[in-house]
């Protein structure tokens, strides 16, 4: 049984279609990369998967024990106010969101601590989030997402704006979560080169989806090879 099935999705805003005929399924432990040009609707698709945005038509179903509350999400370029006072610890803890009252439970604190250590940011725990570097901030947000899930991570362009070295570290971290912890990963990227290197499935969206399948098959298609060649030339 698949964790997530999308059937004939049409996405758009105020009746204006952005992408249509999106069909794919994600199984436990998959690493799916969603690629496509800027503005092709990748973030909109992620928002639809998170139920933040209703699709114009089509269905999204969860299965295999997955529910919306069990999804961890790393937003694209979180518009966090420049002067927001929040410590790393507070932000990671905010990923554990069940319960009322001003205090977190022991288990939630332990979970946050574990994820802080896993992301290698233990020494930053008391620091103010806005004073960290881009790469450190992404690790904090990834730790927060991990507090919300053991099952599925949705990452929207997690490496945008990071320098090459930090980008590699980020990709390695995500691969580790996928391989070691068995967390399903759905990652948006416009870096097709990285996508085919790390992911085992590719969804290429354009106005209509150009491709969905395994990475191996994607490389054999004309679009896949055309795009990867283009990406290669740029580097």
């Amino acid at each position: 049984m698949a964790q997530l099935i999308c059937r004939d999705l049409t996405l758009g805003y105020e009746g204006k279609t952005v992408a249509e005929q999106i069909d794919f399924a994600v199984h436990k432990g998959d690493y799916l990369c969603i690629v496509g040009e800027n503005g092709s609707g990748k973030s909109t698709l992620i928002k639809a998967l998170l139920h933040l945005k209703k699709p114009l038509s089509g269905t999204i179903t969860f299965g295999d024990g997955l529910t919306q509350k069990k999804i961890g999400y790393l937003p694209q370029q979180t518009v966090i106010q420049r002067d927001f006072p929040a410590s790393v610890q507070e932000i990671v803890l905010s990923g554990c969101l069940s319960g009322l009252g001003p205090f977190y439970t022991k288990e939630q604190k332990a979970r946050a601590q574990m994820n802080i250590e896993k992301m290698g940011i233990a020494d930053l725990a008391k620091r103010c989030y806005r004073e960290l570097s881009g790469g450190q901030q992404q690790r904090v947000l990834l730790a927060r997402a991990l507090c919300a899930t053991r099952e599925l991570l949705l990452l929207d362009e997690p490496v945008t704006g990071l320098d090459p070295k930090v980008t590699l570290e980020m990709y390695d971290l995500i691969t580790l979560l996928n391989k070691e912890d068995g967390i399903t990963v759905i990652m948006v990227s416009h870096d097709i080169g990285a996508a085919v290197q790390y992911a085992d499935h590719i969804l290429h969206v354009s106005r209509k989806p150009l491709f969905f399948g395994t990475t191996e098959d994607y490389l054999k298609t004309s679009i896949g090879s055309a795009f990867t060649k283009k990406g290669g030339e740029r580097k």
């Binding site: 937003p75 006072p85 969101l97 009252g101």
Partner: protein
């Protein structure tokens, strides 16, 4: 000094202090969220609407003005936060229109229909809260106290959700927090605080009470909890100090705001030095 202490034996001074401290506490708790959500201007607009509602209540000669002011302000708050979520410039202008309109119509209503001999005095005290707090009865104190306790309890109960919605609404919604519900809660609390605080500082000065403690605390502290605690302490101290100073003559509302401004400058300075 003894005459000064003597003042505290008057019940109206005690009432004023209790109410003032409670209001200050509520408005500072809320203030941090409003400032961080970039909603400070909504507090300002709402206080003008509350003034307009008060004018209507006066004209209708209602015995309990709250019964009209509170629902009108709440409805406006909900409406504003709804549209404010995508704070366009257009939304900004319509808010300004609403707030100035309410102010003007409120004054007009009071002038045309009021039977009071001293209209400008009445208007002045509702706008700047000069004397109203020293004329509070036990009933007002109870009402104020109950509303404050409700606000504080709501805030404590939903502290984590409020943090989450303030920090990153999309993430909160994605993990199943009902963000619309919490935005609604924030709107309702804002309305309550503003209506209650009108007694203390008058409707024109409320936003100062909401904004200053939060901004002062943010000069120095860099985590959410510390900022909340610090702004609560600042706000309570400033209110108490303002009320005590005002016994000697100056109007309460502006004195409290002046104390807050002073604290803001001191904290800004400390913040600079610490860097």
């Amino acid at each position: 000094m003894s005459t000064f202490l003597h003042y505290f034996s008057y019940p109206f001074v005690q009432y004023a202090l209790i109410v003032g401290v409670l209001i200050a506490l509520c408005s500072s708790l809320l203030g941090v969220t409003l400032v961080l959500k970039r909603f400070s201007f909504i507090g300002d607009g709402l206080s003008h609407v509350a003034f307009g509602a008060l004018a209507i209540a006066t004209v209708l000669q209602l015995t309990n003005e709250m019964l009209l002011i509170l629902p009108i302000t709440m409805a406006t708050a909900i409406l504003l936060l709804r549209t404010g979520q995508k704070a366009h410039i257009k939304g900004d202008a319509s808010l300004a229109m609403l707030s100035v309109g309410a102010l003007a119509l409120g004054y007009l209503l009071m002038n045309v229909f009021s039977e009071s001999a001293n209209i400008s005095g009445d208007v002045c005290s509702t706008l700047f809260g000069s004397t109203s707090i020293l004329t509070l009865g036990t009933e007002d104190v109870w009402l104020c106290g109950i509303m404050s306790v409700i606000v504080i309890l709501l805030f404590l109960m939903f502290y984590r959700q409020i943090f989450s919605v303030t920090f990153d609404e999309d993430f909160a919604a994605a993990t199943g927090v009902r963000t619309n519900l919490y935005n609604l809660l924030i709107a309702v609390i804002t309305a309550i605080v503003i209506v209650v605080a009108m007694n203390l500082v008058g409707s024109l000065l409320i936003s100062a009470l909401v904004i200053f403690p939060a901004l002062s605390a943010m000069r120095i502290f860099k985590n959410f909890k510390a900022v909340i605690l610090c702004s609560a302490v600042i706000s309570v101290l400033a209110a108490a100090l303002g009320i005590i100073l005002s016994i000697m003559g100056p109007p309460i509302g502006s004195t409290i705001v002046a104390v807050n401004i002073g604290i803001f400058f001191v904290f800004s300075l400390i913040g600079r030095i610490k860097k």
